[in-house]
């Protein structure tokens, strides 16, 4: 069923009784050409682009919970292309362009909203660093504007500019940055993949990876063994454990990242504002909730909830930056398990096992990458060659020293 303004109107008039389930719930077949482990944003996008760009449809996505139960439904939805290093820059640029056509492509409203992102800076040195980053963005063909303090004030007058902790000097403004509805992204890719014949299998946990003579032959699951010629591991925070089933040890430590949302308020914050010095960023959802977050809890964790010290720290930073939000009531807090790499950049590569591919290491920034990660992983699985915008996301780059350390914080997983 194609969605359109007319279909919404028609269903509205007739009691919304005509909507059909958005995807099938098939039983797993005994064999597929390709199995994707993980039904998060990246796994679903990979299946979608395998079908759409490469005409491959004998594919199953195996998800241990329900589709979108992982980080794709837990993130703070920021979409941007403001990277600096060659390797990252072209990849996120490609991703943002895909976002800009995604709703038409998927025939699905993912509520992509290019409301603009303002990264604040608070010293001369930080201004120089942001100017340099902005130039890299412009050189990549994306947009960036360096705002002085008055420029920032015109856009977001409600900030406390004179705060004693980190007085605001200005900001880097990325107009094409913004947000999207996270669940809708998972659902839109799921629907698109299903319509092209991909089997989406929920409540199906992969418990083993079968390897014969150095080649993958299938997987063991809680719903039985399934054979496959090629397998993609796209399991985000659980990547280390899934890769261990194939005897691999990854350059990944799983950490907890928290986020917070307030009760719904009238529109008050029109942009995404980031306050890196204070470890705080915020936007307002279309429902009116203020959605905000900060840094990792900093210790390895598989609990989808965090501890109070980071919560308190984030609240303090928020109050320093925008005292006006002090009376908003927190509705919910939660956490997600993020797959941190030693340089803060991701991995999209083949492994030493024939037919086994891996897409992981998204740290806390993989939501914006969803379309391009799917696009490039599909390219890799279909052709056996890395896509040109993802060719530096190599699994062996740590051993060979070809790091992509965007923040320059060194080989420690929790510092990126």
């Amino acid at each position: 069923m194609r969605y359109s303004g007319l279909s919404v109107l028609k269903e509205g008039l007739f009691g919304n009784k005509g909507w059909k389930p958005v995807w099938r719930e098939p039983e797993p077949k005994a064999e597929y050409d390709i199995i994707i482990i993980g039904g998060g944003g990246h796994g679903l996008a990979t299946a979608y682009y395998l079908a759409k760009n490469h005409g491959l449809t004998n594919i199953a996505v195996l998800e241990k919970g329900y589709l979108g139960s992982g980080n794709v439904g837990r993130n703070t939805t920021i979409v941007r292309a403001n990277y600096f290093l060659p390797g990252n820059s072209e990849f996120y640029s490609h991703s943002l362009k895909l976002w800009e056509g995604l709703e038409r492509d998927l025939n699905y409203n993912v509520m992509h909203s290019q409301r603009g992102i303002i990264n604040l800076f608070h010293s001369d040195g930080q201004r120089d660093a942001f100017a340099r980053r902005g130039n890299a963005m412009v050189n990549q063909g994306d947009d960036a504007e360096l705002l002085d303090r008055e420029g920032v004030r015109r856009l977001v007058p409600y900030l406390d500019f004179e705060q004693t902790r980190f007085p605001i000097y200005g900001g880097l403004y990325h107009r094409r940055g913004g947000t999207a509805r996270h669940d809708a992204v998972a659902w839109g890719f799921a629907r698109g993949a299903d319509q092209r014949g991909v089997d989406l299998i929920q409540n199906c946990e992969v418990t083993g990876i079968d390897i014969v003579d150095g080649r993958v032959t299938g997987v063991q699951t809680t719903r039985g063994a399934i054979r496959a010629k090629k397998v993609g591991i796209i399991a985000a925070g659980r990547s280390g454990q899934v890769a261990a089933m194939a005897g691999m040890r990854l350059p990944i430590e799983s950490h907890i990242l928290q986020a917070y949302v307030t009760e719904g308020l009238k529109p008050v914050i029109d942009h995404v504002v980031t306050y890196g010095m204070g470890h705080f960023y915020i936007s307002q959802s279309d429902k009116g909730g203020l959605v905000f977050g900060g840094d990792l809890d900093f210790y390895a964790s598989y609990a989808a909830r965090g501890n109070l010290p980071m919560l308190e720290h984030v609240m303090e930073a928020g109050m320093t930056l925008m005292p006006m939000i002090g009376k908003a009531k927190i509705l919910r807090t939660w956490g997600g398990i993020v797959d941190m790499t030693p340089d803060g950049s991701p991995i999209i590569d083949k492994t030493d096992v024939g037919g086994l591919y891996i897409d992981c290491g998204w740290n806390y920034g993989g939501f914006k990458a969803t379309p391009a990660s799917g696009w490039c992983m599909a390219h890799l699985i279909a052709t056996g060659e890395p896509h040109e915008v993802a060719r530096r996301f190599r699994l062996d780059r740590f051993r060979t020293g070809h790091l992509l350390d965007e923040e320059g914080t060194g080989s420690q997983h929790n510092l990126h």
């Binding site: 350059p251 598989y302 501890n307 080989s411």
Partner: protein, 93 residues
């Protein structure tokens, strides 16, 4: 979450800095080798029991090994790194 420093007692988490699995303290001998890739980058990353390395930065500056569960956040034991369990030392568990 609070951590029990063997020297200072039960202290707020915020006083400590985290350095990952305690095998991080076992630096390889000599110049570059695969062992350095292991130390700096690769992780067992277990979901469950782990021995971590923490530094009591805002306290007595002791290096502490913490037995902790990464799924429940329960802490079962702490000790000075210098008094590490032989089993944990160098083990990849």
């Amino acid at each position: 979450m609070r951590l029990n420093c063997p020297l200072c007692g039960d202290r707020d988490l915020r006083e400590f800095t985290y350095y990952g699995a305690s095998v991080y303290a076992d630096r390889p001998e000599g110049g570059w080798s695969e062992a350095w890739d292991d130390l700096l980058h690769l992780r067992d990353n277990p979901a469950g029991e782990t021995n971590d390395l923490w530094y009591h930065e805002l306290g007595c500056s002791a290096w502490i090994e913490v037995s902790r569960n990464t799924v429940t956040h329960a802490i079962s034991d702490t000790r000075l790194l210098a008094e590490r369990k032989p089993a944990a030392k160098g083990a990849k568990a």
